[in-house]
């Protein structure tokens, strides 16, 4: 039988800070990064909802405007012309759902690793969607940390949900 040790990851707090200060500082930094990242996606989600990204032609306007700004022969233009623009309604819905999921996941520490994976997916698609610049590199790398590290167990709902559903991959 597969048993899961739910107490394998530390809980962030004063007890940890007193016992292992360096580790606590590292964990605290990662948690701050997670909250910052979550807020980044929360702001972007609110903006998307305000602009009706999922139910108007706003994404079409954004993609068309951005297409005019990039190299027409490049891979980003091909991706925009071949996929994003023809499917802008579906893409608008997916973007809105993914952005909100990342925000909720990272802010609450809920399905945190999955939220990190979605953030990587979002980052790659921002780049392919013609918005590539160097800022996407740290954004992608930070998202990778949320996949690799148990930040939802340090602080968040994952720890409690993992104890309740130990076989579920979502709360690992």
């Amino acid at each position: 039988m597969n048993t899961v040790n739910t107490a394998s990851h530390e809980v962030f707090g004063l007890t940890l800070l007193r016992a292992k200060p360096l580790k606590a500082i590292g964990i605290g930094f990662m948690l701050l990064l997670r909250i910052f990242y979550g807020l980044f996606y929360a702001f972007a989600s609110i903006d998307k909802v305000r602009n009706g990204y999922a139910w108007t032609d706003y994404p079409l306007q954004v993609f068309t405007k951005q297409l005019a700004q990039i190299d027409q022969e490049g891979i980003m233009a091909a991706y925009m012309k071949g996929f994003l623009i023809p499917n802008y309604q579906l893409v608008g819905i997916v973007i809105t759902v993914v952005w909100i999921s990342v925000a909720v996941g990272l802010l609450l520490g809920l399905c945190t690793r999955l939220a990190g994976l979605l953030a990587i997916f979002a980052t790659v698609n921002i780049g392919l969607g013609g918005f590539y610049d160097a800022s996407l590199i740290p954004l992608g790398l930070i998202a990778l940390l949320f996949v690799v590290l148990p930040t939802g167990h340090w602080l968040g709902l994952d720890r409690r949900l993992h104890a309740r559903h130990p076989s579920s991959l979502l709360f690992r």
């Binding site: 910052f36 807020l39 980044f40 929360a42 702001f43 972007a44 609110i46 903006d47 405007k65 005019a68 700004q69 990039i70 190299d71 027409q72 802010l107 609450l108 520490g109 590539y132 610049d133 160097a134 800022s135 590199i137 740290p138 954004l139 602080l155 968040g156 709902l157």
Partner: protein
């Protein structure tokens, strides 16, 4: 459920704050004769300006990698207060009457984009983005400007650089 409460409180406070910190005057809206996407960090913009006494090309460079990374913070700030300005590296070329041949070049300059009032504040002049007017710092008319399209802008920039380097 402590984390749910904390997160919702934080978002409520942030939403309230976002209503503040706006400039007093209304933002100048398009259509603009000179369209410069202030959030595009990898765009090169070339303004070609012409007047009876002077012709010049203003080349606004793309941002370097660190400046591009710093825009993550810009995006965060935009939720609380709209972006009102941006700064870009600039090279100024004085042009001959054919509007293609550079007579001289001045680099390592900086331009301020007044995003709210839609003005390009150059070291020696101002371009009104709504109309394309090219004004002296005292407001006197010098001439008018156009912005080169994507593609031709980089080609023109390369041609100017090559012509200056060939001297």
């Amino acid at each position: 459920m402590k984390s749910v409460r904390s997160a919702s409180t934080a978002l409520s406070v942030i939403s309230l704050l976002s209503a503040c910190a706006r400039p007093d005057t209304p933002r100048v809206e398009g259509p603009l004769a000179i369209e410069i996407p202030e959030l595009c960090t990898v765009c090169v913009e070339v303004l070609r300006c012409e007047g009876p006494a002077r012709r010049a090309a203003y080349v606004l460079d793309e941002k370097d990698a660190w400046a591009q990374i710093a825009t993550i913070w810009d995006y965060m700030k935009m939720f609380f207060a709209p972006k009102t300005e941006d700064f870009r590296d600039l090279t100024v070329y004085e042009l001959a009457v054919d509007l293609r041949t550079p007579l001289s070049a001045r680099g390592n300059l900086e331009v301020r984009l007044d995003v709210w009032n839609r003005r390009v504040e150059l070291p020696d002049s101002i371009v009104v983005q709504k109309t394309g007017e090219w004004l002296a710092p005292d407001g006197a008319q010098i001439g008018s400007c156009t912005i080169l399209a994507r593609g031709p802008d980089r080609e023109f920039k390369r041609a100017l650089e090559a012509a200056i380097a060939a001297r």
